[in-house]
Amino acid sequence: MMHQPNLHTLFNPKGIAVIGASTHPGKFGFVALHNILASGFDGNIFATNPKMPEILGIQTLKSVDRIPKDSIDVAMICLGPKQTIAVLPELAEKGVKAGFVVSGGFRESGAEGVELEHELVQVANSLGITIAGPNGQGFVSTPANLCSQIVSPYPPTGNISIASQSGNILSAMLNLSRAKNIGIARAISIGNQAQLGVADYIRYFGTDSETKVVVAYVEGLPNGRDFYDSLKEVSNRKPVIVIRGGTTSDGAKAASSHTGSMASDQKIFETAVLQAGGILANDPNEAFEFATAFATKPLPVGRKVIVVTTAGGWGVITADAISRSKLELLELPKDLEEQINKYLPPRWSKSNPVDLAGGETRDTIPTLIPLVLGHPQVDSMIFLGLGIQGNVARTYIESPVATTETKKMANFHISQEKRYAEAIMQASKDFDKPVFVATEIGITDSLNAGPKALIDMGEACFSSPSIAIRALEAMTNFSDREHKG
């Protein structure tokens, strides 16, 4: 099958041409060229425009036949539907293996569009060209420093790859990637799936060495079984997180059998994803939180969680959420309790959640984190309360009645927050166990030294214990499957 090697070319081109480049910053053909130039792609870059203007310092070519043969293998096609089909043979002649078709006006637009889409696929097949789209917003490949899309943003480098049937949902996840500093490997708006289905992208991400975590947003499936098979193949090696759009409209439907009447689209879709070993997410935000966890943390080997908190109420909420999940709130081992006793005054909780109850001094948290995480019964940890000292620091810094002492204290708080974040990540690395930090302060004040230190390290800072627990649960389920084989 030509598509898999051609997809590799699409995401790792030696040269790319924007076909139909525009001089107008509001047009697709301009934005695409701009983003390719701005992202620092260091392969060959060409652009065509019949009037041969200079755009962003690039001398455009009058037509495709002016592009040097074999200088490009990928085309970003920003032409109308008929011109797109007409240009394919010339592109093949130049050595193009894969093209992204931005234009709408195909299947989504009615009967004539359906015909055009058939023709597009036929022509592409006959030339051995792989077509992504049509009717999509483009693609991103950070290992190639390539942002070939007609929208924003360009995300940081990382190991999450996304195929999305909606361009906007893709942009939303790329926005989250930027805000959280959790990077992307490949991302593509798959459009009408004319020639390639979402399954083809999932398979490519499965074999792609730059991809550790796969995310797919799916509305309709041209071939459900193929999607299921692709999930099954890839889920053996990598987590595949699936978001489904358009599940709520169908309730029970007319069916000749009782069984058929119970088999709602949503139920069968969810069955297929889970049976294949995939991971279901409710929405793009949740999907990205899950992806973040998988991308940055070691897999837990079991279900036993310990909660360490400097914030009593959040500890209670977290314990409740764990009891509702399939995770297990570890009963605090006696030997661990005795060890913790050495570092805290007697008022600490002496149970899980380990609530420090304000008894901590300068070195307590950096000492306790590895002590607790290293205990052989602990599979994973949730840490609550990061940023509380940073909050005080902010108040002191903004204070109209600041003194030398408050300023000094603010600096101490800030350096402590950073120490805590570093101690957490170091312990996680040392013991190869995941630690989930959950704090609303990551959102309310992303400059707070605690959350900021995590974000700067490219580590996850979850906005609430409940989302951290769902992500941990997803990782634990995946890890369980891995161990079962």
Partner: protein, 210 residues
Amino acid sequence: MNSLTEFESKRLLSKFGLISCNESTAKNYEEAAAAALEIGYPIVLKISGEGTEHKSELGGVKLGINNQDELSVAFDEILVSNSEVSEFLICEHIEGKREFIAGYHIDKDFGPTIMFGLGGIFAEAISDASFRLLPCSREELLRMVYELKSSALLNEFRSEPDVDLEALADTLEAIAKCGLADPLIEAIDVNPIVISGDLPVAVDALVIKS
């Protein structure tokens, strides 16, 4: 659409290993009485043959018939609302507190699927069912069974023993194999499966062909 009768459906599924109740067909009262003696009372009398898929709604099912006199009365009652019926089914009466349903269905996106769910009088209100795409392993079928919210019913329940899970897996495998064996089979409903002692017994079944 071209459904098999209940009798034909159960015979077909039995070839694949479905455990179903003892039963035989009869053309008239005399044959029914003879069949009832053979099976042993109590029995269930049902209308059979073409156009009887919704026999309960047609008043075509009489449960818990304990002797020949009751059979005679039940037979007359059934004929009042089903005078054109020319075939009857005499089935062993299966007693059990727990009922489940199972079935096969070809999904438009994902192809063949199997279902297992809670049956009985609360089934529609509670709607507790899980699915798997087919083919799948026996272990996967049992995972499907344990996904039910009401899976605790598979354990010892009101002095009835644990359900024989191997027998239940056999039943589900029979449904899966039967559906997959014939591309013309569009759907299968096995409803109810009554747990008799520890054994799941198919009391009614319907195979729908396109």
